[in-house]
Structure formats: structure tokens, C-alpha cells
């Protein structure tokens, strides 16, 4: 068995024919069979299809037709990414029998790159309501501790990568749903710039803030995936027609002269980080200083302003998406999602437009603050806590370090920043200028090279 491999390591071995895609897939299936009945990271497993794709990849590679680093790599997709002929449920009873006729853009690109689709991963209902015990599937758990929360909404994506069941996955992020699970599961996850990755075929949460993006074990893996899924899609009206650089080539390990801004007022006053998280952040900043970067404070508008703006827009758009089902079959929603969207029908048009005008203001202030530095750094959140139902109003009242960057549309990367006393991961968030994912990834990769955190895997699947 090949053991735990990053995507990049597996790709190197597959390219040199030191590792068979079938052997790699078999190892992933072995882990799934061993623990996923307890982890619940997959909602649909496409074993036979994956075996066929792995065998086809192996044959192609042996015949000299190697396609690149995704060729023969097992991956899954969050179950809001539509897949032709494969049930796509959004974890909702509303879509229990939904079998799409077309693939989403991401699946088209990953399949064309030679990837092996192993199934669909658990999500919060429609990527918004959770964790829930009254929806189509049980909630996913955290492979570092099955009693802990893997965060959402891309829960299964984060957990399955950390557990070595797949080497790559795609999630979506409307307020932190890639970065939260990446953080809780101790892996890397990138919310790209708004428009960088097509959302075509991804069931919507909130059109104005939805981002699709990759999660994987390392930042290098995320760079590989972004290079595959990024690019203009004229069939997504939010897609940006911008050149896609070679993200992997940007991973030089060199961050000398990098200017890092830290929004201390958020971290110390508005949403105070716990002492262990603050210590982990300080240690990470010291690592960057040691690598030749500089650190300075930056001032951003209050977190609450971003939260209010995002949530008013989101609740109105969510209602418009689910209005018919709320009127006709409200009992088929989980209580968490229903509570979070039902009042959107009462938001007045004036309020929605004013929130959109406020977004313009907040986004400009975000870009102005970033003009002074190359990247922002801050925690992604706190280490995972026990998985349990949360009061439904929590979504409206809680603040996060992630939502502001959905409002701004900036690229934001979460990566492992060490472990707490209970063995749960800390996570560092690195935020960049619009469409400058390359600098964000370069900084994250340099940090991973300088720290030992990628050497530890969950004991559950050892």
C-alpha cells in the first residue's frame, strides 16, 4: 500500500510509473471501508466508476499518454456539485432523487485532467443549514476526533481529505464553507477570488457570495487543483475573464520582502482569539519574519458591518431560490436551514439594494487596506469543538474571520497552523489582492515547508 500521500507526491509517483492509479484507489477504498461508516464523509460512493476510471488512467499512462498531475488521482465533490448520472442531493430531502443530466464545470475540468471521481461528499443542507440530524444523511464527523465538529458546509470534503480517503476535493464558500472545514480538519483550502472558478452546475447558496474552490492536504496540492479548475466560463455570468497563471510555478518558497498585514482590532477586540489560537498566530508570524517577511497592523471596517451586509443579501437570495419549496413542502427542509432562510421573504427590496450598496463600500475599503500590504494574515477560526446541534439563530448572531472576504471577493487560503492541547488543528488564513492567488499560495507553501505540521495524520485512519 502506498500510505498517506499528498496529491503532488502521488502524481510524481504515478508519472514515473512507480505507483498505479488502481493501487492508489484501492488504498483510498480501504480507508473508506475501515472508517467512513463512523466518519460519514461520503454520501455517495462511486466505486465501480472509480475503478473503471483508474484502470483507464493506468492503461493510458502505460501507453505514454500521461495527462498531468491529476491523472489517476482519486477525488470527490461536495454534494452540491452536479454530476451527470450521479445523484446530487445537497444533503436535502428536497433533492433526494435528483440525478443531474449535466456535469458542473469543475467536474468537466477534473475529468478532462484524468481524475478519478470516487463520489460525493457530505455538506450542510444546500451548503447553508447545519449541522443537522434531520436531513437526508447524518452529519459528517471530524477524523481527528469523531466527537468533534468538522465544520461546514464542505464538511465531507474536509474530513475525507484529512482521512486520506481522497487526495483532492472541491467545496464551496459563501461565508467560510471551504476555509472552515479546511481549518477544522487540518488541511488546506482556498476560496479563490470571486469569479476565478466557475460556479456553473454548483447548486446555489447565495449568488452574490458563492465561490467554488479546492481543498487538499497541502498548499501545493491546492495550487495544482486551482490550475485545473480556474478559468473563464462564459456560461457562468459571474465568471471572470482573466489570465490563469501557473500557480505551481509560483511556489518558490521565497517570501523575502513580503508585507503582511494583520487586522489586530478584529483579533484582539471585535472577535477576540483564544489564548492558544493567538499564540499559534504569533508563532506563525514569527516563522514568516524568520523567512524575511515583514508584519504590520492594518485597519479594516468592523466585522459586524461585513456580517450584516452579507447576511441580508444571503437571506434574500436564499429565499428567492427556495421560495416554492418553502411554500409547498417546508417539512422537507431540515429545521436549521428552514430557520435560516424563511425570513428572507420578508426582507424588503429597499433593504436588499441598500445592502448591495453597502457591499460596494465595504469591498472598496477592503481593497484600500490591502493596497498597503501584499497579504493579510489572521486565524481562520478556533479549533474544532464538540459536534452538537447549535441554536438556529446562531447563524445570524455569530461573527467570523472569514465572511468579510466573501463580501470583498478576495482570495483567502486556510492552512494548518499546528495543533492544540487536544490534538485539534489550528488554522492560519492568508488573504490576497483580487486575482492574486499566486502570492497567497506562495506564502502558504513557504510556511508549510518551514513547519512540521504536514507530517501528522489523524490516528483514526493510521
Amino acid at each position: 500500500m502506498p500510505g498517506f500521500l499528498s496529491l503532488a507526491e502521488a502524481a510524481r509517483r504515478i508519472e514515473t510509473r512507480d505507483l498505479s492509479p488502481v493501487e492508489l484507489l484501492t488504498d483510498c477504498l480501504r480507508r473508506i471501508e475501515a472508517v467512513d461508516d463512523r466518519l460519514c464523509s461520503f454520501v455517495t460512493l462511486t466505486r465501480e466508476r472509480a475503478l473503471a476510471e483508474a484502470k483507464a488512467a493506468e492503461a493510458a499512462i502505460m501507453a505514454g499518454r500521461y495527462r498531468g498531475p491529476m491523472h489517476g488521482i482519486p477525488y470527490n465533490l461536495k454534494d452540491i456539485f452536479e454530476t451527470r448520472g450521479i445523484r446530487t442531493t445537497a444533503q436535502s430531502k428536497q433533492l433526494a432523487d435528483h440525478v443531474p443530466e449535466r456535469d458542473c464545470d469543475a467536474q468537466e475540468r477534473l475529468s478532462a485532467a484524468g481524475g478519478v471521481l470516487l463520489g460525493k461528499s457530505a455538506t450542510w443542507e444546500f451548503a447553508h443549514g447545519g449541522p443537522s440530524w434531520d436531513v437526508l444523511f447524518p452529519p459528517c464527523r471530524n477524523p481527528w476526533d469523531l466527537e468533534k465538529d468538522p465544520a461546514g458546509s464542505s464538511s465531507g470534503s474536509g474530513a475525507s481529505v484529512a482521512a486520506g480517503m481522497v487526495l483532492a476535493t472541491m467545496g464551496s464558500d459563501t461565508g467560510g464553507s471551504i476555509r472552515g472545514p479546511a481549518a477544522a480538519n487540518g488541511i488546506a483550502g482556498l476560496k479563490p477570488s470571486y469569479g476565478r472558478v466557475s460556479r456553473r452546475g454548483v447548486l446555489p447558496n447565495c449568488f452574490s457570495h458563492d465561490h467554488a474552490g479546492p481543498l487538499a492536504w497541502t498548499v501545493e496540492d491546492v495550487a495544482i487543483l486551482l490550475g485545473i479548475v480556474a478559468g473563464h466560463d462564459p456560461r457562468d455570468p459571474g465568471s471572470a475573464d482573466r489570465p490563469v497563471p501557473d500557480y505551481r510555478a509560483a511556489l518558490t518558497g521565497d517570501v523575502r520582502g513580503l508585507r503582511i498585514g494583520v487586522p489586530w482590532r478584529w483579533i484582539e477586540e471585535e472577535l477576540p482569539a483564544s489564548a492558544p489560537t493567538r499564540a499559534a498566530l504569533d508563532a506563525a508570524l514569527d516563522v514568516f519574519r524568520g523567512l524575511g517577511a515583514t508584519v504590520q497592523p492594518v485597519s479594516l471596517p468592523p466585522l459586524q458591518d461585513y456580517e450584516d451586509c452579507k447576511k441580508i443579501i444571503a437571506v434574500a437570495e436564499l429565499f428567492s431560490i427556495h421560495a416554492r419549496q418553502l411554500r409547498e413542502t417546508p417539512e422537507l427542509f431540515g429545521a436549521s436551514l428552514r430557520f435560516r432562510i424563511i425570513a428572507g421573504g420578508l426582507v424588503r427590496a429597499e433593504t436588499y439594494v441598500q445592502a448591495m450598496r453597502q457591499r460596494s463600500t465595504l469591498a472598496r475599503r477592503m481593497q484600500a487596506a490591502l493596497a498597503e500590504v501584499d497579504v493579510l494574515m489572521l486565524p481562520t477560526g478556533e479549533p474544532a469543538k464538540v459536534l452538537k446541534p447549535v441554536p438556529p439563530e446562531t447563524l445570524f448572531t455569530r461573527r467570523s474571520y472569514t465572511t468579510a472576504f466573501n463580501v470583498g471577493g478576495n482570495p483567502a487560503l486556510a492552512l494548518c497552523m499546528g495543533f492544540d492541547a487536544e490534538g485539534m488543528p489550528f488554522s492560519l488564513q492568508i488573504v490576497g489582492h483580487l486575482f492574486d492567488e499566486a502570492t497567497v499560495l506562495r506564502a502558504g507553501d513557504a510556511y508549510e515547508r518551514a513547519t512540521p505540521w504536514r507530517q501528522r495524520r489523524p490516528a483514526l485512519v493510521a
Partner: protein, 67 residues
């Protein structure tokens, strides 16, 4: 409307939203959720310059493909 919305006021709002046929249990959810949303809505700044554009300006070139 504010976070002090009464059940009677909610009846009017729910009808406008096409939610007047909701089962009673869900009407309680709607009221509780609306009180949360109303607090956020009240914090969105209202006074703006006339030409302060929202963040979703229509770009016709993005809607030329199949419908």
C-alpha cells in the same frame, strides 16, 4: 418593521411573502427568524449619495449564451 414585530404584523408580512399557508409551527419559526433578520436590516446604513451604486450592476455581455 422591527425586531418588535408582533404576530399580527407577521400575518401581514407573511401574506405578502406568500407564506400565509405555513403550518402554525413554522409561523413561530418565521417570527423568531424575522426578529433576528430585522436587527441586521436595521444596521444597514440607509443614508447614501444619490449615485452610490449597488454591487450587482448588470453587464449585458455576460448574458448572451443559451437561456
Amino acid at each position: 418593521m422591527s425586531e418588535d414585530t408582533t404576530p399580527e404584523e407577521l400575518t401581514v408580512l407573511a401574506k405578502q411573502a406568500g407564506l400565509d399557508q405555513l403550518p402554525e409551527a413554522y409561523r413561530a419559526e418565521l417570527l423568531a427568524a424575522w426578529r433576528q433578520v430585522a436587527q441586521m436590516a436595521a444596521r444597514i446604513p440607509q443614508a447614501r449619495p444619490y449615485a452610490d451604486e449597488p454591487a450587482h450592476i448588470f453587464d449585458p455581455a455576460r448574458f448572451t449564451g443559451e437561456g
